[in-house]
Symmetry: C2
Subunit: 149 residues, 2 copies
């Protein structure tokens, strides 16, 4: 599953994580490679599954989601389909991880207001006990993996 990456590959990943829309020619310039060699590298990274896609980052507050919360859900039993259906129905649930420990699921939830958040948490509480923490600020917004020096 793990692919071997050299310094140039890491440089490419770093640039593409910082700005996923730079032209390949510019990317080549930054990593000191010709455009075609860069293209080939990127294509390989994509086809080996290192790069799984590209996406625009959207500011939550700017689109009306003023509240962000971490919700931990203790979910007894093993009927997971209803939860999956809820994930499909609730775009406000932005991310959902299954974890070890007391809390089976950890989710990131966006809402436009506290009332809105309450509504979502009510839905979640149908499944188990939900523990909610509001997010003050993103001390460190998500950054992709970087080489361990």
């Amino acid at each position: 599953m793990a692919v071997n990456l050299d310094a140039t590959d890491w440089a490419i990943l770093s640039e593409l994580q910082r700005d996923g829309r730079i032209p390949l020619s510019e990317l080549g310039r930054r990593v000191s490679l010709s455009a075609s060699a860069t293209t080939e590298r990127v294509r390989r990274l994509e086809s080996t599954g290192v790069i799984t896609g590209y996406s625009a980052a959207v500011d939550l507050a700017a689109v009306g989601y003023a509240v962000l919360a971490i919700v931990r859900l203790k979910y007894p039993g093993s009927h997971h389909e209803p939860l999956h259906r809820l994930l499909g129905r609730r775009p406000e649930i932005l991310e959902c991880l299954r974890t070890t420990g007391d809390d089976c699921y950890v989710m990131k939830v966006a809402a436009s207001s506290m009332a809105h958040l309450e509504e979502i948490v009510n839905d979640l509480a149908e499944f188990g006990s939900a523990n909610t923490n509001l997010v003050y600020s993103q001390t460190l917004p998500y950054r992709g993996p970087n080489p361990r020096r």
Copy 2:
């Protein structure tokens, strides 16, 4: 801070979150707009701060980070600089949110092995009591905001 978005804007955001590298002409085709009108819309979304950037998504396991964990840190006191310095020194810490509740910080941490994870958590435990949960799987990988129907 919040910007008003019409259905076309949301369609653009949706497409760009799904594939941040599609040509603007193709994007225009998908949202039924000319290339230049699309360009103008995207430019506006960028300059108003709705779109904060573009980035490539990198598979953690594929680059050697086989272990993912959620670490919650109870951090007494208000000396946050040392933690910030640690964030800069430890690329394995992928994300860090400051939250309400008992746990002041919630982080997402990637490691190549349990030993590696232990090392990182040791660093964190210098600051307060760290509570770690391993991630089995990403039930729902991060998806950006979508309109609340």
